[in-house]
């Protein structure tokens, strides 16, 4: 798979909600081959603090640009938020497997939890194009002002179901219960991205209903390229050599069936 290491100029950078930003970077080489669900590693610091790059999904993929939607969590994202239009950032990518686009499924439901929504707009667009019909979208977050991208999904023609923990917009519900109500079934593919607990409960509902379910996982990464073996999660594969799957190279998108959700790391997840 082709990968690049490029200095990419920031073309636009907006705060879209409190502490949440959308960043546009010009990177024709990467944009040309990037697929929904893939990510890049951004060199956010100039010195050695933080030392590592920061992984960020492609939110939208344009001809020569990509956008990233992110939330300020700590030192790295704080530095990221300081980049101004015109400044260049070193980008490594595209990385990861991305979402498979299979028009064979009759129904597609995207479930986003919080900032996890950042992985889904490009997918919604690709599915709309491939299937001739926009997917349904469940947009869940703690509270109203954290519900992002609803307009964007609607612009593709998606039916968007809003849910908040505090009831400040849409239903007072979690993503999994909205999914339940939407009655997925065989022939449905569900795509989940959000906090671990959200992906796990969405998976459970989808599987119980006989639907296929893909999840986009997160893990602390060092290399992003499959070299360091730092970002693994436990799979259900039995063989010693296959037990651990790398979020960066084998993922970040996995069929929920192969993930060992009982394993230690998932208990550790934020």
């Amino acid at each position: 798979m082709e990968r690049f290491l490029l200095d990419c100029p920031v073309t636009r950078h907006d705060e879209v909600a409190l502490g949440q930003y959308r960043l546009f970077l010009r990177m024709p080489e990467i944009a040309r081959i990037a697929r929904p669900g893939q990510f890049c590693m951004l060199e956010v610091a100039q010195g050695y603090y933080p030392f590592l790059r920061r992984p960020m999904c492609f939110e939208q993929i344009f001809d020569e640009e990509i956008s990233i939607l992110y939330k300020v969590e700590g030192e790295g994202t704080r530095l990221l938020a300081q980049f101004l239009p015109g400044q260049a950032m070193n980008v490594q990518g595209p990385l990861g497997n991305g979402f498979p686009i299979d028009a064979g499924y009759g129904r597609h439901i995207l479930a986003a939890g919080g900032i996890g929504v950042a992985a889904l707009p490009a997918l919604a667009k690709a599915l709309t194009e491939a299937c001739g019909k926009a997917p349904e979208v469940i947009l869940a977050a703690r509270s109203k002002h954290l519900l992002l991208c609803a307009d964007l999904f609607e612009s593709f023609g998606c039916a968007v179901h809003l849910a908040t923990d505090d009831g400040s917009a849409g239903e007072r519900a979690f993503a999994a219960s909205v999914l339940q109500r939407l009655e997925p079934g065989r022939g449905t593919r569900v795509y989940a991205c959000g906090p671990m607990i959200m992906m796990r409960t969405v998976s459970d509902v989808a599987r119980a209903a006989g639907a296929n379910c893909l999840v986009s996982l997160e893990a602390q990464m060092a290399c992003g390229d499959g070299a360091c073996l730092g970002c693994v999660v436990e799979s259900k594969y039995e063989q010693e050599g296959e037990k651990m799957v790398r979020v960066c190279l084998d993922g970040p998108v996995f069929d929920t069936e192969i993930i060992d959700w009982e394993a230690h790391n998932l208990a550790y997840a934020p």
């Binding site: 798979m1 050599g241 651990m244 790391n265």
Partner: protein
């Protein structure tokens, strides 16, 4: 016009075109980084530690970032020597990379079997014996002295045995977690190692204050990155005062200036480890920068630089 400096070095019977290596565990099996630069330009690629059987390694989380560094507890996940030979080696050979196979085992027999197998399959140009992995013991049980390279006697035994099992150049990779680095270094030399690799990661740990849990599933991990560079330079200097065999310097090398620091302190080769995560082509920048430095200071060969710190 000054002539281009000669960057060649000798590590036992192996002549390398330049002294810039990439560290075991930070460069996969070479393929992972071949998309960013021509890996045949490296002095050598050091493979992830190979064991006789495939290993799943430790449970996650395995990584924590720390100030100017990172803690890892990978636990030697690797494909095993057979899959390395069948699936990884052909790529390295095809790309004409010089290869140092890093090996790890639990017993002397594991090491000798690995060395024999690698020599028989012509699967490397040299062997680095990892006698210093901090991440293969459950920290809940094992405490204190858990690594071969924490005991000069054990180093002597292991190095001798591997030395007898193979004619390939042999390098012993040692831990910094000792009282006096000269003892393990001299033991490796006495055991017949052609070089010592200094240093593996420093033992370290991090705790999540909010969750009140260790940040690594393995509790303890190995600290690497620029944070540890001063420690590594000091140990290289100490060892260089007593060794006759060369030293492969490792620990926080990020740029050519850092590499020169190790050479001046007594290292013959320099290894880029964690910095590759930050800049996938970091080793190339080190190489180019080193050549510039030598040209600028009119050094014709590395002999003029190695151990040349004025004290």
């Amino acid at each position: 016009m000054p002539t281009r400096p000669d960057l060649g070095i000798q590590l036992g019977d192996l002549k390398l075109k330049n002294p810039v290596l990439v560290a075991s565990g930070t460069f996969g099996y070479g393929q992972e980084y071949a998309q960013y630069f021509d890996i045949s330009r490296l002095g050598a690629v050091v493979t992830k530690s190979l064991s006789r059987e495939p290993r799943a390694g430790n449970k996650p989380p395995r990584l924590v970032e720390t100030p100017a560094g990172l803690l890892n507890a990978i636990g030697l996940q690797n494909v095993g020597v057979e899959a390395y030979i069948a699936e990884k080696l052909p790529f390295l050979r095809e790309r004409k990379a010089t290869v140092i196979a890093n090996i790890y085992g639990k017993t002397v027999d594991d090491y000798t079997a690995l060395a024999e197998r690698i020599e028989a399959a012509n699967a490397a140009d040299a062997i680095e014996a990892n006698l210093s992995c901090p991440n293969v013991h459950d920290a809940r049980q094992a405490r204190g002295v858990t690594m071969v390279s924490q005991s000069p006697e054990a180093i002597l035994e292991y190095t001798r045995a591997i030395r007898q099992a193979t004619r390939l150049p042999l390098y012993a990779k040692l831990t910094p977690n000792v009282l006096d680095i000269r003892e393990p270094a001299l033991a490796a030399e006495e055991g017949g190692a052609d070089a010592v690799s200094l240093i593996n990661t420093l033992l370290g740990m991090a705790v999540d204050a909010e969750k009140r849990r260790p940040r690594l599933a393995n509790i303890v991990g190995g600290l690497s990155g620029p944070a540890i560079r001063p420690v590594a330079v000091k140990l290289v200097w100490d060892a260089s005062q007593v060794l006759r065999i060369p030293i492969i310097g490792i620990g926080g090398i990020c740029n050519a200036e850092d590499a020169v620091e190790f050479l001046l302190a007594g290292a013959t080769a320099v290894t880029v480890g964690s910095m590759t995560f930050r800049q996938p082509d970091a080793a190339m920048r080190v190489l180019d920068g080193l050549e510039d430095y030598m040209t600028r200071h009119q050094f014709q060969s590395l002999d003029q630089l190695i151990g040349a710190m004025k004290v």
